[in-house]
Structures are given as C-alpha cells and as structure tokens.
C-alpha cells in the first residue's frame, strides 16, 4: 500500500479493510474508518482547498467539525454533488469522489490567487467602500460578479433524489456530546431509569479520548472505556445512543434540534435509508458536554498547508495512525502541544523544535519532551512560515526581538489554548461570564434547565470532568423525575479515572509574528480570510463594538461561526481598544452550530407531502370525465369539463349556455359548512351576521353576511334553519377555517353566556349543485319523503329526507339565478349519488360544469364572491347589499364599525356593472378605471374591475367593478386605460340576466 504517512502499529483502524477514493481525479487508497482528511494525510496530501477571498492554498487545520479550510465537494452522481463538506468530518467509503473548490484551473495553480497579491486593495470593509457607486451597478454588475467569484462549491442542479426522515422524541435527560463528560453524565442518568438520549457528532463516541493517549478510566485506555460504556448504554431500554448526530439548535423550553447523518458514510446507501434524520427533542434536562476547541497561533502566513492544530495532529496519529509530516515543528503557548510532540516523537517522527511563547513554563510534559531529546525554545515566537503550497520552514525569533533563525519543517503544530464550546449554552439564551484567571468565557447565568459539564464548563482535567459530569447526570435525572441513582449509597457505577491529562491557559490574540505591516497575513479567521491587521484596522476606522468589528471584517461570520477565530479576534480588538475583554464583549451564538442541509429541515414535506392536497368525493369521476382542475387553497376543484376539441373558452361557453337552457351539475362540496346547535343558536346567529334570524322558520334559508368588527364584509353564505335550535351554515371555500375560528373566538370571548356549539361539517357532506330549468326533473325521481313542488319547497328552503336511499339535506337555492338545488349527502355517498344524478341529467341533456362556469353564471346575476368583488374594505352598502342588513337589529359584530364616518361618507367605491362599448372586448380583472382618459399621467383612478368574463348567454362581455360613487354614475361612460389603448365602458346595474329573477322558478 502506498500510504506513505500511515505508521504501522499506530492508530486504531484495521489495516485490512482498504477503501479506494479519488480527490481531484487522482486515485488514492485509505482505510475503513478514515475520514477523507486522514486518508489524504496518510497519502501525504495537505493542499486541499483555496481560501474564500485571497484564494490562498489551504490544508487541514483540524480533525473535526471546527474545520474552516478543508471544504470539498463530494460527488456521488449528477444529482448528488454536495458542496462545502468538511473533509475532516466526511467518513471515507470505498469509491468516494471528492473535488477541491474555489480554484481554476487547478488547485496548485489558481488564477484567482491574484487576489492574494492584490490584497492591499481588499482590506476590511472593502466591499462596503468600493461597490457603492454608481448605485445602479450593484444589481447589474457588482453583485453578480462578486457572487460568481465568491462561490464555494457548486450546487447540484437536479432535484435531490435522497429522502430525509424526521422524528420527535422526548426524554428526561438529553446529553449533548459523547466524550468522557457526556458518557459519564449519561451513565449516571441512565442508572436512574429515566429516558436518556446521548448524541455525538462523531461516528464513534469518545471525544478527546480519541487522541489523549494518556487517559485511563476504569483500568483501561480511555477510548476503549468509552466504547465499552457506550455499548452498555446502548443495551439499556431507556437509552438512545445517537452517533453522527449534531445538536445544531437549542430552542425554547429545552427543545433541541439534532441532525443524524444516516447514510452519508455508506458506499451504497439502501433506498430505504434516509440520508439524514431530523430529531426534534423535548428534554426535561439538558446536559451540555460539548468540550472545548483548540485555538491556533496567530502569526504571519499561519495558513500554509501543513500548519495545523496540535490536537488534530495527535488525533491523526493516535486514532488514524497517520503522521502529518516527517519533520515537524511545534509552536505553542500551552502544554497540550507538548503531548502531541511527545506522541509523534515516540512514533518515530522527528520534532524539529518546540517554540514556546511562554518564558519559563514547567510541568511533566515539558520534562518528558526534554527527556525525549526534543529541542525546546522558551520565550520565542514563530514570526513567519515559509513555503506556499506546503509549509517548508518556520522562522523563529526571541519574542521581544532579536536574531532570526529559520528551521526547515514539513508541518507545524500549534496551540494557543482551548476555547470552551459554549455555542449551545449561548443559543439557550444563557449568559457567559469571563474568567479573568483562565482568560476564557464559561457558562455564567443559565436561562433554561440545562447544565454544562467538563471542558465546555471550563473544568480542567479528566478526573474533575468525570466527577462533575457523573454528579450532574445523576442530578439532572433526579430533577427530571428519576429515582436516586444510589450514588450516595455507593451503588452507582461511577467511572474511576486512573490517569488523565490536564491543561489550561494559553494565549488570546495575535502573537509577535502577527506583524503590524500591511502585507503580513496572520490569519485569525481562516474561512473568511480575516487577518489580525483587518481587526486592528476595523478598530482604527471606528468600530468599537465587537458586533461592528465582526460585521466590518466578517470575522466569525463564515459557516464555521468562528469556532477557532472568535476569541482571537475579540482579544485583538480589545488590545487595540485598550479595554478589558469583557467590556468589548462576545457575540451571541446562533443556530445552527454547524451547517444543516435544507433536506433535513424539509424532511417529509416534499412532493405529495409538501402540503395536503384535498380532493372531494367526486374527484375521481371528474378526472375520468377529463375535467381540468384548479387549485383553490388546498383543494383541487374541477375548473371546466372540456369535450373533445374544446378549449377552455368553448367548454365554458357550452357549460354556461346548457345550465340556463336545461341544467348543470356542479360539485360545491368544498364550501365551508358549520352546524350551529343549541337553544341560543338563533341568538348567536343574530350576533354574528347582519341579517335577522330569530324569525326565520325552520325549513327556510337566508343569505347571510358576516362582518368584522370594523364593518367590512368578512364572509357570506346561505344558511338553512333545520330546527329551532339547529342551523346549517355555509361559508366560502377559502373562508371555511377562518370563519369557524372567527365564530368560535366570539363565542368564547364575547358571548360565552350563550348555550350554543359549533361543529365543522364541511367534510361530512358532499354537495352536488343541480341548477337549471330541468333541475327539479333530474332530482325528483331519486328523492324520497320530500315534496318537491314550488309550494312545499319554495326557493330558499331546506328539507331533510332521502335521495337514492341515503340521507340528504336538500337545499332549494341558486347561485346561477336558475331554479336550483344543492343536494347534501354523506361524503362517502357523494360520488355514487352524483353518478345517479348524472344519469338522470343525461336524459335532459344536462352538463357538468366547473368553477369557471360557476363564476360566469353568478356574475351574470351580479352575485358577489367575497374576496374577489370585495377586498376587506367593502361594506354591505358598498356591495349593494343593504337589504341583507337587519334594519331593526341593535347589535351584531360590525354594527358600530359600519356607522363610522368614513364608512357612511359620500363617494365611497360601490360595486356596479360595466359593459364595454365594444361588446367583444373582455376587460382585465384588476384593470383601473378613470373618468377622463385625456388627463395627464398619473391619472386619477376612481376604481377597478373586480370580475370580468365573456358571457355567451348575453352574447357579450360583462364585468363588475368597484367605482367611486358608482351608483350615481349609471349610464355614464368611463374609461379603462390599457397598454394597447383605452377601453370605453358604460356603468350599469349588476344584473345582466333575468333582472326580475323570474328564472328562479322557471
């Protein structure tokens, strides 16, 4: 095998299982269990990307989720090209294909790197200062160019073929983070028997035990102990163990969002497997065991490939068996880098020198390093790194100045100390506190029922961490209702730490090598290419709040959210401002902790599950007849029923003519229906509608108008009184849910004294409208127990009986102006009854008609549609519906609003009819109306067209319009200016067919 940097005997991966993969079209071999990063490093590949702004060559900074540099594109097939995948997180599978990003024509030679040379032009605030003028160029020129240049990776251009699952879960204790602290807390909580969920972003639990070679717990190696403990937890019924799962958002009342990566690590994920699974967990208590993240040193050219965090190098060695170089330099202000140097040295890697910024540190790791013969330089700084595509040297200088020495290296490990991961704590609205002694922000004031343990709480040392975490886990379980775990009685299985590592402190901000000159690039934020000088410049240009510094420099604003850069940036700003760090402040962390795919947020809600598609009982029949459907809210409604060779216009003309000549069948099932029941039903109706109801006899119907408190029309519909205490109310299709809520709201808050209840029966009844002169002949043969004569069943009445042997509420009513009925039958019978009526209808030449013809037919009669001819600013009087307002009524919702001065003023827009002078011209709905077409633009508009159709029955176009003072303008000519010329119209009444209404009984 040609993985030159894989060290035999090191790491935990089995060499037996290899996996081949490609990076930028070159093939490599890795080992199962590798990440893409460890596999590339094993092959000696450090250069993996180009930076965002300067296109600088970049390698791996880390071995985990904090990675700012190694963002690659993973390509499974044409539709699966995931950009910006962190190579340090992506697990290797056989056949994995990865490409570098942000480079052209190649990674080693990138034309965009000219930005690096021209970098004095691109200083902080460059975008804000440069692309201001001319203003118009922003949309047409600057923004598209900047976006094209800045793009990281390529979005897939096909629909995502993967599917994403979602799950809600509840537990008493949710443990976030599966290192030593998280595992200890989960063990303690689980022993009490409460439900525990423990999640970790890695494939394997253990956290920093992955690299801490010195850790021993319960007599075994720390990482091995972690695996055993997790196996034990997995075996418990009350515990759910979630590997590869990132808690990305901490919301109100311990509601936590987590994403589980189910199949991204598999060579060929089965179709049954979701790609990711969103967990939305409500937890009694949350234990935050999110650890700490190592910081880099800020010095000139600290971004060269081969320069990485000490803990990352240690992870690659101790877990993956990979040496990150053969001649490694170390630059540190902290003990932890020594441990990395020691492990590498013991594995046979040469340590060129350790450069320690501290003057005279002491401790066992320093002694051990010295004992291994490693050169150690105290009080010195690395002021510069050499090399371009790969680090080749480090230049060392006493930190207070003096002679320089250049040391050849092929990798530099750095550690400026550790930053507690308080992201989720901060998201929970907890307030962090700055510890002056250890110079770090740790959880201060809690806002939710959670507790931080271990490194994220600023607790140093494995022993103290496990002690704290175990106690916190037990307490969390108990507080959430669990039993005492028996810790006091000594029955618990608290892990015993035999040996552990401990370090703290370090430094914040720029090291001496960060330089003050304008050409030095000492990176603070690698992903957004922010240098120490940028932050100083921001302060000099007047940004004194960290919130302003952040936005001006974009420090910490990349997708890594400044996991490695925030503290350095803050310290440099504080130093430049000459203020203590807490006074400058830390920005608040926001969800998501790491990027989350849209897929996982969308979950099941795509395709047919994007939104419910509601179909009526007759949908299948209509579809079989070739109906064209339209969306009305969530409903699919038959729009028109074209016969062979017919377009929409022809079909609608035929349907409209047939209804007035013989009859038509129309599915009105989607109309909202509410059953209002109780001894006070009529009283309630009096209060909710403008009309009088007390005297409406059972068996009769009335057209009702409902207002809002402000006096404007809210909804309308025909209401039938079935009994003294029972009304069958209909609403508009779109208004059904809100009318129900409106009524329930008033019932509960304003009229709770009334004994009346509301039940939605929209879906209980299928409604078949049979309209036209032959409607009675069609229905009568199928009806039992109802006298269909005009005397017994006059217009606007309702009867209960049977049709086709099934119960019906038969309404005699009309939305066409013809003799008409609406047959309500229980929904499961809807289609069969429709078919029976259709068969009868066929004997008379009846047609099925859709919503378009329904609209035309009602407009011919001047019947309004709420929401089309009204827009929330129309009163009953405006709509010509004064007759529907009970004159003697003293109270109903909207009665006072209706009396407002503006609502009774002259000149309000009123609903009128319009006839175009040229009968063939059909106006556009929404078109504006003017009095004088010769006036200067902008003209004074006096109204607009609300409904407009071709009426085959009238042999001309017809329209309804809202026109200021419209009813005083009858017969006048008005004008509708359109792009292709001005249309002359005459103001008319709203009824175009059968003005006397004789056809209702025709």
């Amino acid at each position: 095998m040609n993985a030159a940097f894989r060290i035999p005997g090191a790491g935990r991966l089995s060499q037996a299982k290899t996996a081949s993969f490609s990076f930028d079209d070159k093939s490599y071999t890795g080992i199962e269990g590798d990440t893409l990063a460890s596999a590339l490093l094993a092959n000696g590949v450090h250069l993996v990307g180009r930076s965002f702004k300067y296109h600088r060559p970049r390698g791996f900074l880390s071995a985990g989720a904090e990675e700012p540099n190694a963002l690659v594109q993973i390509v499974r097939d044409d539709a699966r090209k995931t950009p910006n995948v962190r190579a340090t997180v992506q697990e290797l599978y056989d056949g994995l294909t990865a490409n570098s990003q942000n480079r052209w024509p190649s990674l080693a030679f990138d034309v965009g790197a000219v930005n690096d040379i021209a970098s004095p032009l691109f200083s902080a605030g460059f975008y804000y200062k440069t692309f201001m003028w001319p203003k118009s160029a922003w949309k047409s020129l600057y923004e598209p160019k900047i976006r094209a240049a800045a793009g990281l990776g390529v979005s897939p251009d096909r629909p995502d073929p993967d599917h994403y699952a979602a799950r809600y879960a509840h537990c008493e204790v949710l443990v976030l983070g599966g290192g030593a602290a998280g595992i200890a807390a989960a063990l303690a909580a689980a022993e009490t028997g409460v439900r525990v969920i423990i999640a970790d972003e890695q494939a394997e639990f253990g956290g920093s035990l992955r690299f801490e070679s010195g850790a021993r717990i319960d007599g075994e190696n720390g990482f091995a102990w972690a695996q055993g403990a997790i196996a034990k937890l997995k075996a418990m019924d009350n515990v759910r163990v979630l590997p590869r799962t990132t808690a990305f958002g901490y919301y109100a009342q311990n509601f936590v969002g987590l994403v589980e990566r189910v199949s991204d690590h598999l060579k060929t994920p089965g179709r049954e497997l979701a790609r990711e699974r969103l967990w939305q967990v409500r937890a009694g208590r949350v234990v935050l065991a999110t650890g700490a993240i190592e910081r880099h040193m800020v010095f000139a050219d600290n971004d060269r490939p081969g320069i990485m965090l000490a803990s990352a190098a240690r992870t690659y060695l101790n877990h993956y068996g990979v040496a990150v170089g053969r001649n490694v330099g170390v630059y540190t202000a902290n003990d932890s880098a020594y441990a990395a140097a020691i492990d590498l040295k013991k594995a046979g890697v040469n340590i060129a020198a350790i450069v320690d910024l501290r003057d005279n540190p002491s401790g066992s790791v320093i002694d051990e390093a010295r004992g291994l013969g490693i050169e150690i330089n105290f009080g010195r700084a690395v002021v510069r790194a050499g090399g371009k595509l790969r680090v080749s040297s480090m230049t060392v200088q006493p930190k207070n100045g003096g002679g320089e020495r250049t040391v050849p290296v092929d990798a530099i490990l750095m550690s400026a100390g550790w930053t507690p991961s308080v992201h989720l704590f901060s998201q929970s609205r907890g307030k962090v506190a700055f510890n002056e002694e250890t110079r770090r922000f740790v959880p201060g004031t809690y806002a939710q029922d959670c507790v931080s343990v271990g490194a994220c709480n600023g607790t140093d040392g494995l022993d103290a961490t496990v002690e704290e975490a175990y106690a916190a886990g037990a307490k969390a379980a108990k507080d959430a209702g669990g039993k005492d775990s028996g810790i006091k009685a000594g029955k618990g299985t608290k892990p015993t730490v035999d040996a552990g590592e401990s370090w703290s402190r370090g430094m914040l901000g720029a090291a001496p090598g960060a330089g003050a000159g304008t050409t030095v690039k000492a990176f603070v934020d690698f992903q957004n290419d922010v240098t120490a000088k940028d932050i100083r410049q921001a302060v000099h240009e007047g940004m004194h709040s960290i919130e302003h510094v952040k936005r001006f420099t974009t420090n910490g604003m990349a997708t890594d959210q400044g996991k490695t850069s925030n503290m350095h940036g803050l310290a440099i700003a504080a130093e430049t401002l000459d203020k203590p760090i807490p006074q400058v402040g830390l920005t608040t962390f926001r969800a998501p902790y790491t990027p989350v795919t849209f897929g996982s947020i969308v979950g099941h809600a795509r395709g047919p599950l994007f939104d419910p598609t509601r179909r009526t009982a007759t949908h299948g029949w209509a579809a079989a007849q070739g109906a064209v459907f339209e969306d009305v809210g969530q409903w699919k409604r038959a729009w028109y029923f074209p016969k062979a060779g017919e377009d929409m216009h022809a079909a609608v003309n035929r349907e409209c003519v047939t209804v007035r000549k013989t009859a038509g069948l129309f599915d009105a099932s989607t109309l909202g229906k509410i059953e209002v029941v109780g001894p006070d039903a009529a009283k309630f109706m009096e209060l909710l509608y403008t009309n009088p109801w007390e005297k409406l006899e059972p068996g009769r119907c009335r057209y009702g108008i409902m207002l809002r408190e402000d006096g404007f029309i809210y909804d309308d519909g025909v209401v039938g009184r079935l009994a003294p205490d029972r009304f069958h109310v209909t609403t508009t299709t779109g208004g059904a849910p809100r009318v129900m809520h409106h009524m329930e709201d008033y019932l509960q808050t304003e009229f709770p004294h009334l004994n009346v209840w509301l039940t939605s029966i929209t879906e209980q009844w299928a409604v078949i409208a049979v309209q036209g002169p032959k409607s009675r002949e069609i229905i009568a043969p199928l009806v039992e127990g109802i006298d269909m004569s005009d005397e017994a069943l006059p217009h606007m009445s309702v009867r209960e009986g049977k049709i086709c042997g099934v119960p019906t509420r038969l309404f005699r009513m009309s939305f066409t102006g013809e003799r008409g009925f609406e047959v309500n039958v229980p929904a499961d019978y809807g289609e069969a009854v429709w078919e029976a009526l259709w068969a009868e209808g066929q004997k008379h030449g009846a047609t099925a008609y859709g919503t378009e013809s329904m609209h035309v037919l009602r407009a011919e009669k001047g019947y309004i549609i709420v929401g089309q001819d009204t827009d929330g600013t129309v009163t009953p009087n405006d709509a010509g519906l004064d007759w529907a307002v009970g004159k003697k009524k003293t109270d109903f919702v909207g009665i006072r609003g209706m009396a407002r001065a503006d609502l009774v003023a002259k000149g309000r827009k009123q609903l009128v009819g319009l006839k175009t002078k040229d009968a063939k011209v059909v106006l556009e709905e929404g078109a504006q109306i003017v009095e004088d077409p010769k006036q200067a633009i902008p003209m004074k508009m006096i109204g607009h067209v609300t409904s407009s159709y071709w009426s085959e029955n009238c042999g001309r176009s017809i329209a309804l319009a809202l026109v200021a003072g419209g009813r005083d303008k009858m017969g006048k000519t008005l004008y509708v200016p359109m792009p292709n010329g001005t249309i002359e119209v005459e103001v008319t009444g709203m009824v175009f067919v059968d003005e006397k209404g004789e056809r209702l009984n025709g």
Binding site: Q634, T759, E763, Q764, C804, V806, D828, E831
Partner: protein
C-alpha cells in the same frame, strides 16, 4: 334536541358507499398502516351538568380527564376538550339517535363521513406517529386509551392509543390521503 341526520349506513341505499382510500394498507418492518372500515361518529358538546344523562344515554361514561377516553360495547368516547367529545361507534349502533333521546342540554352532530380512521400497528407504531406528531408517546405519558387532538405533519388528527403498540389516527376525509401517505413514508423509516 332536534333530529339530525340519521344513521347513514341505511339498508335502503340504492347507491354504494365509497369510503375514502378504502382498503389501502402498507406494511413496513415493525409497523403496519391501514385504512379502517367506516364507523359511526358524532361530535358531542355538552356542559358538565349534562354528562350523567348523556353517559347513560350513550352507554359509555364520558371521560372528564384530559387526554383520556372510555370504551364500552364497541363505542369509544374521546375527551377532546372541557366540553367536547368525539364518539366513535364501531358496533353498527347509532350514537346520534341515542343522544336524540337525551333531553339534557347538549349538541350532537353526525360526522361519520367527515373522518377517516387509519390504524398504525406494530412495535414501531409510536415511532411512526412521532415522525410527524410532537407529543410524548411513551406509555407513561400516553398510555393505552389515551386520546388527543393533535397534529401529524401539516394535518390535524385525533390520536387514540388502542394498545401498547397500536394507534387509531382519525383525520378529516380530504386529509386522509396526506395522512396515510405521511404515515406510510414515516413507517418505512421507523424501524431503522
């Protein structure tokens, strides 16, 4: 109370009843999702003073504890609110007719055709429902006979636990395709 629509599975019907999604079923590892046969249902609203009389008339004691239900003789009363119950009768009897005989103040409205029932059955049933329902479905929090009006994805449902590993999901007729499809998709992930 006035007479409302009578029982709808009338023998006199000359047309067939076509329930929504009749016969649809899906089996996944650990869970089966299937459309249940039609049942008689009413929405019952009543003040506390009427509960004794209505319980007697219906032959099942109306539960007053939130999230609970009571079943007797094939008739289940689900508590949906302080004055609201969903009555489901699977024995072919007519709860609407029984309520009509009770003179105590109440509102009974027939909704047999408004709802469609879907059974979710098997060891992975709770996980399947939890794919779109945010309630805690552990047996402690949602024991057998627990009932709740809640949501599944973007649809309102009424959820009734009929056994440790079985649920009855009631939704409105036109939402049944959405709810069934959602449960089917969720079921295929539930055993993973």
């Amino acid at each position: 109370m006035a007479k409302a629509a009578a029982k709808t599975n009338a023998a006199s019907a000359s047309v067939e009843r076509r329930p929504a999604l009749a016969g649809r079923a899906l089996s996944a590892p650990g869970v089966k999702v299937e459309i249940l046969p039609p049942a008689e249902r009413i929405s019952l609203r009543a003040p506390e003073a009427s509960l004794a009389a209505l319980s007697k008339g219906l032959g099942v004691t109306l539960p007053t504890k939130p999230k609970s239900s009571a079943t007797k003789g094939g008739r289940t009363a689900l508590w949906l609110g302080p004055d609201e119950w969903l009555i489901i009768d699977e024995s072919g009897n007519d709860p609407l007719a029984d309520c009509a005989k009770v003179s105590a103040l109440h509102s009974a409205v027939g909704i047999s055709h408004r709802n469609v029932a879907i059974s979710v059955n098997g060891p992975a049933a709770a996980v399947t429902v939890n794919s779109g329902c945010p309630q805690d479905l552990s047996l402690e929090a949602f024991p057998v006979e627990a009932a709740s009006r809640t949501i599944l994805g973007k649809s309102e449902i009424v959820l009734l636990r009929t056994a440790a590993d079985a649920f009855r999901v009631e939704c409105w007729r036109s939402f049944s395709d959405y709810v069934f499809t959602f449960l089917s998709e969720a079921a295929s992930d539930a055993a993973n």
